[in-house]
């Protein structure tokens, strides 16, 4: 299942010694992590290990306070000029984030807009596309996630799984070069998890570059090209999912996997 193999080797994300913290508490203690174009990278680890924070650093929602984080060829958050770091302006942040889709644990659909308007929102308000074209485009993306019939419903009229699929369609409508998933199935009822994972699998099969923070070990095993285990703000261990899951090298990884897999190992994913 190594779908990402040999699909070009351009690095999309290069993190080296990334550090971040707030209120004096260190959250990331020097993360080294590389994502190559076309790859699906899964990130697992106990809560509080910094995996979500790292993901949010990648699209600039959280500031990097040390080390270097290059995403799509740019140093996130500031540029070096005349020997000094010049922080990005809000406009520069916005322009950077256009190319990166993000899917949140709690969906974060715009509550005052229908599913269709949610998906059309980025193209209209950020890319300046006409309403008509944006709606046609949005309809295509809703169709892709299997929700064309629900285009005119409000978020609160949709199930969690449907909301998350709309959120994925909303991110895809911007035609991003990189998709970030922050525990996309953690807020879902168990029976709704698979419909979201199916959409993500089809994205992976289409060659989308993805970073997926998840607790779905089976998904990581099946779809992931790489798997990183985070603990205490560090990448403790990374490798190919099959190998890492079969023979974790570190005690922390073993302990985490045995606690997580306790109830999840036999979970069907097809």
């Amino acid at each position: 299942m190594s779908a990402g193999e040999g699909r070009g080797a351009a690095p999309v994300v290069v993190a080296s010694d990334v550090r971040m913290g707030y209120n004096g508490v260190q959250v990331l203690n020097g993360v080294d992590f590389t994502v190559t174009s076309g790859e699906v990278s899964c990130v697992i680890g106990p809560s509080g290990s910094g995996k979500s924070t790292f993901l949010r650093c990648v699209n600039g929602l959280e500031p990097v306070l040390g080390g270097s984080l290059r995403v799509l060829g740019e140093e996130v958050g500031h540029r070096l000029r005349d020997g000094r770091y010049h922080p990005w302006t809000p406009k520069e942040f916005a322009a950077f984030r256009r190319n990166i889709g993000m899917v949140f644990q709690r969906f974060n659909l715009f509550a005052h807009q229908s599913a269709l308007e949610n998906v059309a929102c980025g193209p209209v308000h950020v890319l300046g596309m006409s309403q008509d074209r944006a709606r046609t485009l949005a309809m295509e993306h809703l169709d892709r996630v299997g929700l064309a019939d629900h285009a005119h419903k409000r978020p609160h009229q949709l199930s969690g799984g449907q909301q998350q699929r709309v959120a994925i369609a909303r991110a895809l409508a911007m035609n991003p070069a990189l998709m970030l998933f922050d525990e996309p199935t953690s807020a879902l009822d168990p029976e709704l998890v698979d419909e979201v994972l199916e959409v993500m699998k089809s994205l992976a099969a289409d060659g989308m570059t993805m970073i997926v923070v998840t607790h779905e070990i089976a998904f990581a095993r099946e779809v992931g090209d790489r798997l990183a285990f985070f603990a205490d703000g560090l990448v403790v261990e990374e490798g190919r999912p099959h190998e890492l899951l079969a023979a974790p090298a570190h005690e922390r990884t073993r302990a985490f996997l045995s606690s997580v897999l306790g109830g999840q190992e036999g979970r069907p994913t097809q």
Binding site: N59, L61, P90, K91, F93, A94, A95, F96, R97, R98, I100, G101, M102, F104, R106, N108, L109, F110, A111, H112, Q113, S114, E117, C121, G122, V124, H125, V126, G128, M129, S130, Q131, R154, P155, H156, A167, R170, A171, M174
Partner: protein
């Protein structure tokens, strides 16, 4: 209350006896007596001339006062709402000077009585006999006599509007802050700038929290305008007081004024109810489909 017979175990209907709520009857009687007796004493009071009330109810000066009261209320509320949004956005700005100024504004205008502010604006001429608007270092500009600008009407509008803005700014701020942080993050991750996020995502959702209290502000404003009588703004209360100062029918004219205030409040309450039905309950169905917000907030279709 159910009165239909209830079927017993064998299916035979058994009638239900009526329950007498003696406590309720007693409480109702006491409440009616306590509330009704003083009202009755006023109504039948021989010193109160109801004929005069009827005579003045549609008096020309009273009617023109009603109109001025509505004008001042609407204009002052409009000024307050626009300025209030501005102050609220300033208050939430990262710029410490802007946010400090907004905080000071809110503190100042909530901290001083409206009455003081009204008298201040009315007497602005003591500080600035002339209002001058000109291009610096040139002789080109405009000049007004302060006393001609600061009539009772304008000082009322200004005083009440600036005051409302301070209160309304806090409502707007609460509305903006009540919008889930996740909405902002989703807007940012699509590539929106902070200003676009505020206009396209946050403000439309904040409106459902902001709009219902504006009805209350307006109703409250209708009656606060009666303070305008200290600066002789020719509103309902001013005109009523001028009439009773001449004919000494104080109680009758207070009743006339009250009838009109109550009528205006009733209309405003009705409108407020409609506003709240539109924006209050069905929280998320507001912006599109020709709602008020869709007209208020210009849609960007580039």
């Amino acid at each position: 209350m159910r009165n239909e017979p209830i079927a017993d175990g064998t299916g035979t209907p058994v009638p239900v006896a009526r329950t007498w709520h003696w406590g309720r009857w007693l409480a109702a009687a006491v409440a009616l007596a306590v509330a009704g007796w003083p009202a009755y004493l006023v109504v039948v009071n021989p010193r109160l001339d109801w004929g005069k009330v009827a005579e003045y109810l549609f008096n020309e000066r009273i009617l023109s006062g009603v109109w001025v009261t509505i004008e001042i209320s609407v204009l002052a509320t409009a000024l307050g709402l626009v300025l209030g949004v501005l102050v609220a956005v300033m208050r939430l700005a990262h710029n410490p000077v802007l946010s400090g100024l907004a905080t000071f504004y809110i503190w100042f205008f909530r901290g001083t009585p409206v009455l003081v502010q009204l008298i201040f604006w009315y007497n602005l001429a003591f500080l600035f006999p002339e209002l001058v608007l000109k291009i610096p270092f040139t002789a080109i500009g405009l000049k007004w006599d302060t006393n001609q600008v600061m009539t009772g009407f304008t000082s009322a509008m200004l005083g009440l509007g600036l005051n409302l803005a301070a209160y309304f700014a806090e409502t707007v701020r609460a509305g903006i802050q009540a919008v889930d942080r996740g909405q902002t993050e989703a807007a940012y991750s699509l590539g929106m700038t902070p200003a676009k996020r505020m206009r396209v995502i946050v403000l439309p959702q904040a409106l459902r929290i902001i709009i219902p209290p504006t009805g209350n502000e307006f109703i409250s404003m209708l009656k606060t305008t009666s303070l305008v009588y200290v600066v002789a703004g020719h509103d309902l209360m001013t005109n009523a007081s001028q009439i009773y100062k001449a004919n000494n029918r104080i109680m009758e004219l207070l009743i006339v004024a009250s009838v009109w205030y109550m009528l205006m409040t009733a209309v405003a309450t009705f409108l407020q109810g409609r506003l709240e039905r539109r924006f209050g309950s069905d929280a998320v169905r507001l912006v599109r489909g020709g709602g008020v917000a869709a007209r208020v907030l210009p849609k960007v279709t580039a």
